[in-house]
Amino acid sequence: MNIQEIIVFVIVLYASGYTVYQILLIFKSKPEGSCGCSSCDVKSKIKALK
């Protein structure tokens, strides 16, 4: 393996890891509520009232 191949290997490995990490982040982030804003609990209370 020459130096170019080693550098390419590291770069591609990093890019793949970064991609997996970003995908995991998307799945990990929980929705904040039914509309994404913090007023959701109020809205759901109102809904419950109705």
Binding site: A15, T19, S39, V42, K45
Partner: protein, 813 residues
């Protein structure tokens, strides 16, 4: 921390006393003032009340009362680092830190939509939040810190709201924020050119009995009209200081913050609590309801009983809900119902209307004494412009013309800088090619990084021009007009014109556009607007359009680009009709659409908007697009060794020996064939070949299929993938447009005919929105099923429409 959180024998120094009215007065009289030392003596057996020692005597407070007093402990003082040594914190130092902590003021910006809260917030905090001349730009709260003298102002920009009723989520959110977070000071941002309506919210803040300072924003517009407004007198009349400001220019902000500090420190003599007089009968009813609410001391220590009494008379659902948690709710409810009934029969009017009328009566009276001028001057100008721009017959053609102008300019004006950047990218590729020795790293840099990222970066000027126009629409107030013009069409498809604003915003980026659907009250309409939003062609798709159109539609590029956007709007409308007839069969909610007055956009805001979009685009280059380009390159480069159908090396050597006059051409053809076979047998080739059968009926080959697949992450990646995939057959000197034009299929025919290219453009327009948009739909709709549904139906629709274009088009052409 809150005093209620202190443990037995723990010491704290008072930094702030929250709460209101009688509670605040009583507690301060007892000695609970800033800087005083409090010791927890003991907790009662049931943890309530708690006995405290202050100024040498013992008092007991309920936990709920103690939670309204803020203190600083030794631990917190240490964190503040006022003592630079790690020894025992002295009492004097603790007092200093208590005073220091007491100089942190929580400020909330409250005001009508489009009253300039965010402009003021941006200027005050040097933030860069998005502003625009239409309602509902801010859909969530934002906080920033601002230092004024030795005070720290924590400013929160809240969504715009016309009132504090339980009508829309924003109104509820603001109300909940005020009662839940208990900001020290409310800055009520009032649009000086629309005093009457803006002051309605002020009357509700008056009812709340909280500390308010009014920022009379856009004061320059009032002055320009030559109107006379004695805001000092009005301030004294309503007990709220009024400071004229021009948020976008920073005028008056220093005075405003000085006033905020003065009011916070109770040093402004003009501050007083007044009661708006609702008339003898209403006041009697308010009093009766107040009497029963008062029994809940814990509640009235925080919120004015008068406010709740008025809200109950207004039949406010949220107020009812809050009060339902308290012991005597039944009595409160019965009293309120009885009073509503008696009022309505007495005045023959709905109780809500009675309160509203009284509030507007109060405003009219207050303005009559303090305001003189032609309140309609700016409105008149606006009406004159509107006579043309929203005209029954001219309005729509003008809107179409504006859109056409936007896309034509994006294309033609962007062409020149695009060529310069393209030249630089090519130059860089050649430079790297000359410097580096052959090997995988050189290939990665030239064909992966420069080919991929360079292929996308050349479209930066087009993006900036597009955003210039979008910003122009937003800042002048034309965005709201566009929604107004489209209102009739939107009604026909079962949506309100207001849904058109998030749709137009989708031309910029679908993610904030999906978030902007929060301003639509009806949940079904919100979800429907989210579902059709991806058809509004976002700026990330622009590079793909410009690339394909530049290559295959050189005669009328602007018109082709315009047609793509129009098709997007048409498909969105058709899908809305379909969904409305099948999934979302609800009635539309009536809503008054606000048409803000026209304003001349500031160059600062326009350039800032473009600048941030440019930075965002470049950041994307260095992130997702760079990474995707590297992965696409690696999938195309490996495996290094593949078994070829013929021995190309030997055939090339043979061609050179034969010394025929066509030997260069033969050699070149053999090299192209070798590279093509290598790429087809690479990992990406295998992926492409596996999905090619599905895409073949649309006229797409495996390279186009892979490019589309990669666009799932972000649409610009389609271009970078094409940049990488269409590299193999040349030496890197030719730009991507030429390479696409020269691309041949296995039979030697042109790969891209105008028909295939147009089908490809339509597929890009309609299929799977990017991952970020899907995540936004999932988050905003509250359920992942809508995200999955959007992924599936958009992709199927894209496939079906492209199939029709290709198959029917092939019969005609």
């Amino acid at each position: 921390m809150k005093l209620s959180l202190l443990q037995d024998n723990e010491v704290g120094y008072i930094t702030k006393v929250r709460g209101r009215g009688a509670f605040r007065k009583r507690i301060t009289e007892m000695g609970f003032v800033k800087g005083k030392k409090v010791i927890v003596v003991k907790n009662a057996p049931l943890k309530d009340p708690v006995e405290y020692s202050i100024m040498g005597y013992e008092v007991s407070l309920r936990r709920s009362e103690a939670s309204l007093i803020e203190v600083i402990t030794k631990e917190e003082a240490r964190k503040l680092e006022i003592n630079k040594y790690n020894g025992v914190i002295s009492e004097a130092a603790l007092k200093t830190s208590a005073r220091k902590k007491g100089k942190e003021i929580q400020v909330a910006l409250v005001g009508n939509p489009n009253s300039g809260k965010t402009s003021l917030f941006n200027f005050a905090s040097r933030s860069k939040e998005h502003v625009g001349n239409y309602s509902g730009v801010t859909v969530d709260s934002k906080t920033a810190e601002c230092k004024v003298r030795d005070y720290i102002l924590n400013i929160t920009d809240l969504p715009g709201t016309y009132s504090l009723s339980a009508y829309s989520p924003e109104e509820l959110y603001v109300r909940k924020y005020i009662f839940g977070e208990i900001p020290d000071i409310i800055v009520n941002v009032v649009d000086a050119s629309n005093l009457e309506r803006n002051l309605y919210l002020t009357t509700q803040l008056i009812d709340m009995d909280i500390k308010v300072v009014i920022a009379l924003n856009m004061y320059d517009e009032l002055r320009k009209k030559g109107d006379e407004f004695d805001f000092d007198s009005l301030g004294k009349m309503i007990g709220i200081p009024i400071i004229p400001t021009i948020g976008s220019k920073g005028f008056g902000i220093k005075d405003l913050f000085d006033k905020v500090i003065q009011v916070y420190e109770d040093k402004d003599p003009s501050v007083r609590h007044i009661h708006i007089n609702y008339g003898k009968d209403v006041e009697k009813s308010i009093r009766k309801i107040q009497d029963v609410i008062w029994e809940n001391k814990k509640l009235t220590d925080i919120v004015s009983s008068r406010f709740y009494a008025i809200k109950l008379l207004e039949k406010d659902a949220s107020a009812n809900f809050t009060l339902s948690k308290w012991g005597n709710y039944k009595t409160i409810k019965n009293t309120a119902e009885k009073e509503i009934k008696s009022l309505e029969s007495l005045i023959s009017e709905d109780s809500e209307t009675i309160i509203t009328d009284a509030k507007y009566g109060f405003i009219a009276g207050a303005l009559k004494e303090t305001y003189k001028g032609n309140i309609n001057t700016r409105r008149k100008k606006t009406e004159k412009i509107d006579n043309f721009l929203t005209h029954k017959y001219f309005g729509f053609p003008f809107f179409i013309f504006f859109l056409w102008l936007m896309f034509q300019s994006t294309f033609t004006l962007g062409q020149y800088p695009m060529e310069w950047i393209d030249y630089l990218v090519t130059l860089l590729g050649q430079l790297v090619g000359n410097i580096m020795s052959n090997g995988p790293l050189k290939d990665l840099l030239i064909n992966g990084v420069i080919g991929g990222v360079g292929g996308v970066i050349i479209f930066l000027p087009n993006i900036l021009i597009l955003f210039f126009f979008i910003s122009l629409m937003e800042d002048t107030g034309y965005m709201a007009r566009a929604a107004f013009i489209m209102d009739r069409i939107m009604h026909k498809i079962g949506l309100h014109g207001r849904s058109f604003i998030p749709l137009i915003m989708g031309f910029g980026c679908n993610v904030p556009a999906i978030m902007a659907t929060r301003t639509i009250e009806n949940r079904q309409n919100r979800i429907l607007t989210m579902l059709i939003n991806p058809f509004m062609s976002c700026s990330a798709r622009l590079p793909v359009y410009v690339l394909i159109i530049s290559a295959f539609f050189t005669e009328r590029p602007g018109l082709v680009l315009f047609s793509i956007y129009i098709i997007g709007v048409a498909v969105a409308a058709l899908m809305a009709i379909l969904f409305k007839k099948t999934i979302f069969r609800s009635n539309e909610t009536p809503f008054v659409m606000e048409l803000p007055p026209y304003r001349i956009p500031t160059l600062r805001n326009l350039t800032r908007h473009m600048w941030f979009k440019g930075v965002q685009y470049i950041n994307k280059m260095g992130g997702v697009i760079l990474v995707a380009s590297i992965i696409i390159w690696a999938l195309g480069y490996y495996p290094k060794e593949v078994s070829y159908s013929i021995d190309f090396d030997q055939a090339i050597a043979q061609a050179k020996i034969e010394n025929s006059p066509d030997k260069d051409k033969i050699t070149e053809d053999l090299l192209i064939a070798k590279n093509a076979e290598k790429q087809a047998k690479s990992y990406i080739g295998r992926i492409g070949k596996s999905i090619e059968p599905i895409m073949r009926p649309l006229g797409f080959d495996w390279k186009m299929s892979v490019s589309l697949l990669s666009g799932v992450a972000a649409k610009e990646i389609v271009v970078s993938t094409m940049g990488v995939l269409y590299q193999a057959e040349d030496e890197g000197n030719n730009n991507l447009i030429n390479r696409l034009q020269n691309e041949k299929d296995e039979n030697g025919n042109q790969r891209f005919t105008p028909l295939v290219a147009y089908g490809f453009l339509i597929f890009i327009l309609l299929y799977f929105p990017c991952v970020a948009s899907i995540a936004a739909i999932s988050k905003e709709s509250g359920h992942w099923k809508w995200a999955v549904f959007t992924m599936l139906y958009t992709t199927f629709l894209a496939w079906f429409v492209s199939l029709l274009i290709h198959q029917i088009g092939s019969l005609i052409i």
